[in-house]
């Protein structure tokens, strides 16, 4: 009964989405305020019904109702409660339902927080949002119904894929979807602006918080996924350039570019047409990401969702929205008035440079991910594009971008002075040189790239700090005055500096990890010791253990440093009997920002066990940097300017004034 209620609620949500798509747009066309105001209430109702559908599926999962096919295929009565919960979206149907739930949530939020939006703009935004929701509701109902029943009902489920039974992967999809779908709002705003043929600085101010929020969630989602891959896949990499990873990186790059160009638009009314394009691109890439992962096009035979009907349906959605958006763009964008002028050397110029490199990087990932598919379809040649290709092309694009980061905030709007900016960065540059020299001296013949990588990271971090020091006048003014000035800086300035600092932190982690990791691959018998850098690891023996729905064999390693015991590592190998699958659970020991990493392989007949041991210097900084970036975004989001809302248009203000 509950499943049927959920199914019915989803059908009603589809109906509401259709109403939300058609009625407000018609109202905007005919100038009927009553019809336009339908948008808000339908968006809220659509969220309520999608929420009901999701809650129904959640109930089926939590109650282990195996008469529902989705629950039977992805759950088990002995599965821990947490994974019963996260199992809701640990499968194709459930994850698509989560997708539309988040879409409806964003729609409802726009409906709630758009009181100061012009009525026509609001109606158009929500109408486009309704169209997206309708398309995906229809997709779920026609091809991926999560509420389908089984008769007779099985007694026991087939359990969730064991690799998904992990807290990191459990929270990864919601975060990622909040990011993906969050960009739908900037997309809707862009569509609305194109439909109306009018766009101004206020538009950028409305869009920016949504884009920023989506970017923050996407950043968190990617970082979480990366950390999960690091500890769960058992070979200690943090980024594999896997097509599925690339699918999430592309919207992130486009979204980052969008955030930066929206700043220019808000402050200077320039780059309007470009900002609209980026808003379209960011969400289009999110859709392409959904398509790549959900259609199974990447993996041909071995995939979860290898039903061609689904792939074709998503492809149709993709073509309709992306094609429609670009057609509208080609038609209406030339009519948009170009905005403010600026010299090449200026804050605007720096942000344009940022956009150029981010777009090129995004194009690299896009072409690299899709080229093998296109080539195979066109000529039948099969090639592989993997990590070595991306490292060779992506990195050279990132280096100039990173080196330019500290300059941007120090340049003035309209016309900047590169020489003056460079002067203010002297201290940061000095620190970077010092870092290079120190690393060279300490390393003595280690990897050649490492000192420069560290130097670049230090430059980015110190550059971000210089910006705040400079604005507060920390070196020019008496300390209390400077402190007061620093406290009085707009939060967006602090947010910018913090986010840029985070980029440096992540870079530091990447350089440390890729250049200085040490690895030992050994087969050890109980009692044997192996040394890794300054640590000695003794294999004590393998211990069998039992979990709620798995058995595991844990290898116990005692870690000593200079003869003193500093801890124990217990990597394990889990076997999930229901699916007959195994997972590796790496053991991690954190020492400062570095980690010792151990993962266990097979045991041999002679009692020895295969072990992969790594020392990964600074590795934690990779994800810590992402957190710092998100903190910067949060600070910027809390800026008063974004909370208060855009200034009212002059006409409204004039009307409010008493007659003279």
């Amino acid at each position: 009964m509950i499943a049927e209620i959920g199914h019915y609620a989803l059908v009603l949500a589809l109906g509401l989405a259709l109403v939300q798509m058609i009625v407000p747009a018609w109202g905007a066309r005919t100038g009927d305020a009553g019809l336009m105001s339908v948008a808000g209430s339908t968006a809220l109702a659509q969220f309520a019904f999608t929420g009901t559908a999701f809650a129904a599926l959640a109930w089926c999962h939590l109650a282990s109702d195996f008469s529902v096919a989705n629950v039977y295929e992805n759950s088990h009565s002995a599965k821990p409660f947490l994974y019963k919960l996260t199992g809701i979206w640990g499968n194709h149907e459930g994850s698509m339902l989560l997708w539309v739930l988040i879409l409806a949530l964003f729609g409802a939020l726009v409906a709630l927080f758009s009181a100061n939006l012009p009525m026509r703009l609001r109606a158009h935004v929500l109408a486009v949002q309704g169209a997206i929701a309708a398309a995906f509701d229809l997709f779920i109902l026609l091809t991926s119904n999560p509420f389908a029943r089984l008769s007779p009902a099985p007694y026991e489920g087939r359990d969730l894929n064991p690799v998904l039974q992990d807290i990191g992967l459990a929270v990864h999809p919601p975060l990622l979807y909040l990011g993906y779908v969050g960009f739908s709002i900037s997309f809707c705003f862009a569509m609305a602006a194109l439909i109306e043929g009018r766009i101004d600085a206020a538009w950028a101010r409305w869009v920016r918080p949504w884009a920023l929020a989506a970017w923050m969630f996407l950043t968190l989602g990617i970082a979480m996924g990366s950390y999960w891959a690091y500890y769960e896949l058992g070979w200690g990499g943090f980024w594999f350039w896997d097509p599925v990873e690339n699918a999430s990186l592309m919207p992130w790059l486009a979204g980052t570019a969008l955030l930066h160009s929206a700043v220019v638009m808000e402050k200077r009314e320039a780059l309007k047409i470009w900002t609209i394009l980026l808003a379209i691109l960011a969400f289009s890439l999110s859709l392409i990401g959904t398509f790549l992962v959900r259609s199974g096009v990447l993996t041909s035979v071995h995939t979860f969702a290898n039903d061609p009907a689904r792939g074709v349906f998503i492809l149709m959605i993709l073509v309709a929205f992306i094609g429609g958006a670009f057609a509208l763009y080609a038609w209406r964008a030339p009519a948009l008035k170009a905005g403010g002028l600026f010299a090449p050397i200026s804050r605007e110029g720096a942000l344009v440079l940022n956009n150029l490199f981010l777009t090129a990087a995004c194009a690299t990932v896009f072409v690299g991910t899709l080229y093998p598919l296109a080539l195979e379809a066109l000529t039948g040649d099969k090639i592989s594009v993997g990590a070595p290709f991306f490292n060779a092309t992506f990195a050279p694009l990132m280096v100039p971008l990173l080196a330019a980061i500290p300059f941007g905030p120090l340049l003035a709007w309209k016309r900047g002075d590169l020489y003056a900016a460079a002067q203010r960065l002297l201290a940061a540059f000095g620190l970077a040189l010092l870092a290079v020299a120190t690393v060279f001296a300490v390393e003595q013949g280690g990897p050649v790239l490492a000192p420069f990588g560290i130097g670049l990271a230090v430059f980015v971090m110190a550059g971000a700090a210089s910006d705040i020091v400079e604005r507060a006048g920390l070196l020019r003014l008496p300390f209390p005055t400077a402190l007061a000035r620093a406290a009085g800086l707009p939060r967006s300035a602090w947010g910018t500096a913090l986010a840029h600092f985070g980029v440096g932190v992540t870079l530091l982690g990447i350089v440390g990890n890729t250049q200085w990791s040490a690895e030992r691959i050994v087969a050890l018998k109980p009692g044997e010791t192996v040394s890794l850098r300054q640590y000695d690891l003794t294999f004590e023996g393998a211990v069998p253990r039992a979990g709620p729905n798995y058995r595991e064999l844990a290898a116990r390693l005692t870690v000593r440093r200079k003869g003193e015991v500093i801890g124990v590592l217990e990597p394990s190998k889990r076997t999930f009997p229901v699916r007959g699958a195994t997972t590796t659970e790496a053991a991690l020991m954190t020492r400062g920002a570095s980690q010792l990493y151990a993962s266990v392989g097979d045991s041999e007949a002679d009692g020895s066990v295969m072990l992969r041991l790594y020392h990964k210097p600074l590795v934690l900084l990779i994800w810590l940097g992402a957190l710092v970036m998100v903190a910067g975004g949060l600070l910027s989001l809390s800026d008063r300017r974004l909370r208060v809302g855009a200034p009212k248009p002059a006409r409204a203000r004039a009307a409010a004034q008493p007659a003279e």
Partner: protein
């Protein structure tokens, strides 16, 4: 979501008994072994989803790792080892496609985007920087009227 493919790769490969690079495979000569690892990272495990043979647990990857080491012991250069594998398994085995006509678009794309974007910006800046055309006679007159 990004992890799903990795999971697949994992499932396809994890059920196999072998593990990525094992102690018994490694060469005694550390320099040669380092070269073998370097080459392994460039080669695709062909039954896996986007994994190099260095990372893969599949038996096929193990066979390829052993093959790479055999060739290296026989005195091949890195390039010769790669050529040998391409001749045997096709270009699909390389994770970094070679420069060739059918890959030209792939390799050129990043730099083309940068180049076209850069030129576009330059042209735009030039056009913007050009001084506005001089005022026509009647415009000049109106201006003078306004300024008066």
């Amino acid at each position: 979501m990004r992890a799903l493919c990795l999971i697949l790769a994992f499932l396809v490969c994890a059920l196999a008994p072998a593990r990525a690079v094992q102690p018994d495979e490694m060469l005694a000569d550390p320099a040669l072994e380092a070269r073998a690892r370097e080459i392994s990272r460039e080669l695709r495990c062909m039954v896996c989803q986007n994994q190099s043979i260095d990372d893969s647990d599949a038996p096929l990857a193990r066979d390829l790792r052993l093959l790479v080491r055999e060739r290296l012991k026989a005195g091949d250069s890195d390039r010769q080892v790669l050529d040998f594998l391409v001749a045997r398994y096709g270009e699909f085995v390389l994770l970094r496609p070679r420069f060739a006509w059918h890959n030209a678009a792939l390799w050129a794309a990043p730099f083309l985007v940068l180049l076209v974007g850069g030129i576009g910006l330059l042209v735009r800046a030039r056009r913007r920087a050009a001084p506005p055309p001089p005022l026509a006679e009647d415009e000049e007159k109106r201006l003078q009227d306004l300024l008066r």
